[in-house]
């Protein structure tokens, strides 16, 4: 009895706030027909799910490392563009693989350098200077070699081969294999590939050198025998071999991928988008965030700057024009038997729409996306609650120094979580792309939603990220719907119709109200 009372007292504000939100939701659906509010609810869930994919990573990173990653939205956008490339232009994707894999082979050797360098017993001055020498050398080599590697690509300036047209063709189910480009005359493939490999090796060397600099003089005295890291060497060899293999058999591999079932291709696109995010995230954490852990303002400036660079980078490659992302065929059926009236119909005809209470619900956006959001929610939750890694993350959110004092390499966990968070955002970009389309300002608008969702739900709370995303998604969609229907207010003659600019304003308003009542957010921890 007293215990129930205590739980009630401790979370009084939370319960009251939730009750008010549920009451508002109830009031909101009273003014609508059943089909309208069901569809609006599903749309809200969809927007909430996409927001959550980005918000969860953002909040994990902030909770564990106190880094506000303002570039998180940009990774969402990059995920969408990368996934689009795999799905719509698989031939281009295959062309890009060899240089990326070969460059990766060079960088993957960093652990080997870390093990070998101490044995060289370089003088202090040499150890300080050579990372600075090898970095520009690798830059020069890569800049010289990479542009000469032939990549069959779209051309934003040429309409027949623009991303817009490519996307249209793909949505019609036409994937044509474009005439592959060869090396320019007079350019030796060996020189180009060798240049990429050498450049990346030098890059790896300088990374190893820079990371050693922080602990100057360690290696000199200890004289300990560090074994050759076999895994890293094998990984590097594997990447190199795979890269060369794809280079040699480019045409047949492209043929296979283009002929691949489009549903599988979509899954492949998701995996590639996520892996790109994981790699970019890991690289960003190791090279840029790590030196700035103690300096919050610099981190915010750095990540904001990166987000601008990311947008320009995407514009340079994919062009400024907006284009669409086709849905995977399993959610794109039309014609006979559609819109689906029952689950059996849906499974048989793969309808793009389902008929619910006389209204039409889009299968991909309003059914698949929310389900996927829930799956990710559960998987990450299980990871946090049931694994040793999750245990370390939860402990690290509170006190990362103490975790380190237990003999755990927290830095490695930081990198992992950063990579994972960015990977989730990139995956979210691809998942959202069929409904949002591809524009370069995708990231910024989403980031604002994410920040609001986290402020509402509680910045470092994982359930809070889910709840906040859900509330923001629902609120936005209901306001949009009322923009069409109008709200009958007793003191107005005509129904009040919220205009589109009011949509973001309402979420901000909600955030202000909740932060005034509960400064730590709905599920955040009181400091």
């Amino acid at each position: 009895m007293t215990k129930t009372f205590q739980i009630w007292r401790r979370n009084r504000t939370l319960w009251i706030t939730l009750a008010i939100l549920i009451f508002l939701f109830g009031a909101a659906i009273r003014g609508m027909e059943t089909k309208d509010w069901v569809i609006t609810l599903l749309r809200g869930l969809s927007v909430g799910a996409i927001t959550f994919l980005v918000a969860s990573g953002f909040s994990l990173i902030f909770g564990l490392m106190d880094v506000l990653n303002m570039a998180h939205g940009t990774f969402f956008m990059i995920g969408a563009y990368v996934g689009w490339t795999v799905f719509v232009r698989p031939d281009t994707f295959i062309d890009i693989l060899p240089p990326v894999l070969i460059a990766g082979a060079g960088v993957a050797l960093v652990p080997l350098w870390n093990a070998l360098l101490p044995r060289l017993k370089l003088g202090i001055r040499a150890a300080k200077v050579w990372p600075w020498l090898s970095l520009p050398a690798s830059g020069v080599l890569l800049v010289m070699a990479l542009p000469h590697y032939p990549i069959t690509k779209w051309d934003p300036g040429d309409f027949a081969n623009s991303p817009v047209q490519n996307a249209f063709e793909a949505s019609q189910g036409i994937l044509t294999l474009k005439q592959p480009l060869g090396f320019e005359p007079g350019v030796s493939p060996f020189l180009v590939i060798g240049g990429i490999l050498l450049g990346s090796l030098l890059l790896g060397l300088s990374i190893a050198g820079f990371s050693k600099r922080g602990q100057a003089g360690v290696a000199a005295g200890s004289g300990e025998d560090v074994g050759i890291p076999l895994k890293a060497s094998l990984l590097s060899l594997g990447l190199l071999g795979l890269g060369l293999l794809i280079f040699l058999f480019n045409d047949p591999i492209s043929g296979i991928v283009v002929a691949l079932d489009r549903n599988w291709l979509f899954i492949l696109a998701g995996i590639v988008a996520m892996l790109t995010g994981v790699l970019l995230g890991a690289m960003m954490e190791i090279t840029l965030i790590r030196p700035l852990y103690e300096r919050t303002i610099y981190q915010i400036m750095l990540t904001l700057g990166l987000s601008v660079i990311g947008v320009e980078f995407v514009r340079a490659i994919w062009g400024r024009q907006e284009f669409t992302m086709p849905r995977p065929p399993i959610f794109d059926g039309t014609g006979a038997g559609c819109p689906a009236e029952s689950l059996a119909d849906l499974i048989q005809y793969h309808c793009s729409t389902i008929s619910v209470f006389g209204g039409r619900v889009r299968t991909y956006n309003e059914v698949f996306v929310p389900i996927l959001g829930v799956i990710v929610l559960i998987v990450v939750w299980l990871l946090l609650q049931r694994t040793k890694l999750g245990m370390i993350i939860r402990a690290g959110v509170q006190d990362s120094d103490m975790v380190e004092a237990l003999g755990i390499n927290v830095r490695r966990v930081f990198t992992l979580v950063f990579a994972m968070g960015v990977g989730l955002a990139s995956l979210g970009g691809l998942i959202g792309a069929p409904s949002t389309g591809l524009t370069t300002n995708l990231g910024l608008s989403l980031l604002i939603n994410v920040l609001i969702a986290l402020a509402v739900g509680g910045l470092t709370s994982y359930p809070g990220a889910a709840l906040g995303s859900l509330i923001v998604g629902l609120l936005q969609q209901f306001i949009i719907k009322y923009g069409q229907l109008g709200i009958n207010l007793p003191f107005l003659d005509e129904p009040f119709k919220p205009t589109p600019p009011l949509v973001p304003a309402t979420t901000v308003l909600l955030m202000v109200v909740i932060l005034l009542v509960m400064p730590q957010g709905l599920l955040g921890r009181r400091e």
Binding site: G217, M391, Q398, M402, G407
Partner: protein
């Protein structure tokens, strides 16, 4: 006797504050050494400097004849140092079991040490599935010590274990630490002089970031002048 741990003129800065200005001490294998001194003298920072949580800028930290002052904290800890921080810093969001499990360095550490841990702190067995933030202060302190026992540690750094605890609990803790010290070496920070005299064989006094006096605990008890000068509230 060969010391397990030795500090030579350790100097540590936190930000621009020169916290440790020369701390030297030595902890012989198998003994309990008490680190004494007033509030703010640098006792906690000394422990953190040993672990590399606040890395020393100058001086040497030698563990088992190996210099460790430049190594990363997790490497230092993994050589076999258990740390019980002040203010009962257990992980609040983890259950008692998880708090212990996270300290495993090898698979099965917890299984092997279970008997010892629950014999020392039978309460913890009862609370195994409770989350850290639901434990009382005394239980949290016991958990913090138990956590340091999970892995095979040759040295325990214990920071103010009895701070803010009821006398009954303090007695229980003294008993537990005494049992532990039969098997491991302990460097103990303790404000409560009586507790320190019960546990430690020798002492080191730190004042304003310097180690100023050391010797055997028996002599210190007979030397009220030193106690008054360095340890009683100014």
């Amino acid at each position: 006797m060969e010391p397990l741990l030795e500090l030579q003129e350790v100097q540590t800065f936190i930000g621009q504050f020169h916290i440790l200005q020369g701390v030297s001490l030595s902890v012989p294998t198998g003994t309990v050494v008490a680190l004494l001194g007033r509030n703010g003298a640098g006792k906690t920072t000394t422990l953190k400097s040993i672990l590399g949580l606040t890395p020393p800028r100058q001086g040497k930290v030698i563990l088992n004849r190996r210099e460790i002052q430049h190594e990363r904290s997790y490497d230092i800890a993994a050589t076999g140092i258990g740390y019980v921080p002040e203010h009962r810093a257990i992980f609040r969001d983890l259950t008692v079991e998880e708090n212990l499990k996270i300290a495993e360095r090898k698979k099965g550490d917890l299984n092997r040490k279970e008997a010892l841990i629950f014999e020392l702190f039978p309460d913890l067995y009862r609370l195994i599935h409770l989350r850290g933030n639901h434990l009382s202060g005394g239980q949290q302190q016991m958990l913090a010590i138990a956590r340091a026992l999970v892995a095979d540690n040759q040295l325990l750094l214990i920071d103010e274990p009895t701070e803010g605890l009821a006398p009954v609990l303090i007695e229980q803790l003294i008993e537990a630490i005494r049992q532990l010290s039969a098997e491991t070496t302990v460097l103990l920070v303790e404000q409560n002089f009586i507790v320190a005299t019960h546990l430690a064989e020798s002492y080191v006094i730190i004042e304003e970031g310097r180690s100023v006096k050391h010797g055997s605990m028996k002599d210190l008890v007979k030397d009220p002048d030193t106690v008054r000068r360095y340890l009683e509230a100014a």
